[in-house]
Amino acid sequence: MTTWLLRRLVQAVFVMLAMTVIVFVGVNVIGDPVEILISPDADQAERLRVIAAFGLDKPLWEQYLHFLGGVVQGDLGKSFVFNEPALRLIGGRFPATMELAFTAVALSVIVGIPLGLYAGLKPDGLLGRAIMAGSILGFSLPTFWVGLMLIMVFAVQLGWLPSTGRGTTAEFLGIQWSFLTRDGLAHMVMPATNLALGNIALVLRLTRAGVRENLGLEYVKFARAKGLSPSRVLFVHVMKNIMIPVVTVIGLEFGSVVAFAVVTESVFAWPGMGKLIIDSINVLDRPVIVAYLMMIVVLFVTINLLVDLMYTVLDPRVRLDGRE
């Protein structure tokens, strides 16, 4: 178990290193940093001064090491637009995105699993088939368009829900949260639903497939032969088996949810880091872009590690084989 964890940690470090190379090459080789750092009307002396100050006259590998040193110390430069350390800027927007992403994941579980259970138990029923047809739409509809339609119907036509922003926030643990106020919750309903749609479809399909597969297995018949109630058979025996793939996939999808928050945050003007990165790309605020990318990479690697760990906790077969 320890060797396994160690090996995974080493792998994770290598992936992160690979990503720093990609990001560094992308920003400093493909793009031209001088152009961004220096105003066009600067004279030649000013140019050279800046180039020397930023170490752009040094060989590439030295520049990379310098960059890497900055990454390790959490120093990724200052935002050109906000004149603030890029990492602090991203960090300030981080909670809003996480709040939205966690709510979306929670929604996809709360909605997806019951729907999947129903569709799995009644695969030929009208409702069961309707759920499946709906899940296909959940996959193929473009996120941003669904977001627009939600705004059109619930904000413009019906006027039930606010369309943009986080609403009133309240402080908890030194951070502002929307879910603590009524107004904030109302602001969260549409963005969270929008972000959750794809994953609701995914979770419900996984759950349905799991129910269909497990109900046919002998252990279910044996559980019934023991005289267990139907609810215990379904919610303990079958669920425990289904949860293994569902939890794995939800964990792995969390990264995608954070990435897709870029779209949802833009549609609903949710002030998270996704909105920030789009604005930054549009004005070429590179330190912020780099900070965002590094943040996302760390997030992804951490998630993958956590999911693997969770998997071994959930499935006794993997857990013990790993230990031996």
Partner: protein
């Protein structure tokens, strides 16, 4: 009695699903609308001489000062939305199909190469594929556009980089199965040149799964391009795809002028769903594991 050719059998199997046939018909209509837009569209929406700002933001069905009917309304510039959508489809489809084809060629070649050569080449290619696929497409695309900047060419490049990995994985999988077949062995025994074995013998037999992936990838590419354009990172304003049309209408939606965003969205939706329906049936027909 007509002769039973593989192609005829394919057609009849494909036609077994009514939904898939509808999908196919819709795809053909959409493609024709896009191709023939200059002939069919009521106006050229990018010829400023044909536009009148006085016709701006008219509701569907309204008439222009010159008596032309705007069936789907107009945008803020007084552009006929129907024409705008037809021209938008041109951009969306060409970017989607173009990137899917390029990614298909690049990805399949690398996948075949990996399967055929093996060794460290295979390891290197497949590691790259794994790394690439572990990040969501939107993120990879954002990253590339952040490095390169906007523009049609860069969007296509981003889409190709996002998509090639799936083709590579599929091609390698199919090629590994085909490699063990006797006809490859026979070709190698004849001492045919390697490129010939690879492209004339191996590739054609790996095509079915690649076609299936290709169909679905076109839909994915169109969606992704629309999303990027909506975010303002995709095609420039001079070449508006469906995604950009939707983005342009977004600000007017809050004031109830829904049509500027709504109809391009419907066009996008119909296109994507139709391609996916077609792809589903193709997968069933072309999947060798399902063949009786």
């Amino acid at each position: 009695m007509r002769e039973e050719t593989p192609f005829r059998r394919f057609v009849s199997e494909f036609a077994a699903s009514k939904v898939a046939v509808i999908g196919f018909v819709v795809v053909v209509i959409v493609a024709l609308l896009a191709l023939l837009a200059p002939l069919l569209a009521p106006q050229n929406p990018y010829d400023l001489a044909q536009l009148d700002i006085m016709d701006g933001r008219l509701a569907p069905g309204a008439k222009s000062l010159t008596g032309m009917v705007f069936w789907l309304g107009t945008d803020d510039q007084g552009r006929d939305m129907l024409s705008g959508i037809m021209y938008g489809l041109r951009i969306s489809l060409s970017v989607g199909v173009g990137s899917a084809v390029i990614a298909g060629v690049v990805g399949s070649s690398l996948g075949l190469l990996a399967a055929y050569v093996g060794g460290w080449v295979e390891t290197a290619i497949m590691r790259l594929v794994d790394l690439q696929l572990s990040f969501p497409a939107i993120l990879v695309a954002l990253m590339i556009l952040a490095f390169l900047g906007k523009g049609v060419g860069n969007v296509m490049l981003a889409l190709v980089i996002v998509e090639w990995a799936r083709y590579a994985r599929t091609a390698r999988g199919a090629a590994l199965v085909e490699r063990r077949r006797e006809y490859i062995e026979a070709a190698e025994c004849l001492a045919l040149p390697q490129w010939r074995v690879l492209f004339r013998h191996l590739l054609p037999n790996c095509m079915p799964p690649l076609i299936v992936i290709g169909t679905i990838q076109v839909a994915r590419a169109i969606t992704l391009e629309a999303t990027l354009s909506f975010l303002g990172l995709g095609v420039p304003i001079t070449e508006p795809s469906l995604g950009l049309l939707i983005a342009n209408g977004y600000q007017y939606m809050l004031s109830g002028k829904y049509w500027i965003s709504f109809y391009p969205g419907i066009a996008l939706l119909v296109t994507i769903v139709a391609i996916n329906l077609m792809g589903d049936q193709l997968r069933d027909v072309l999947n060798p594991r399902l063949q009786r």
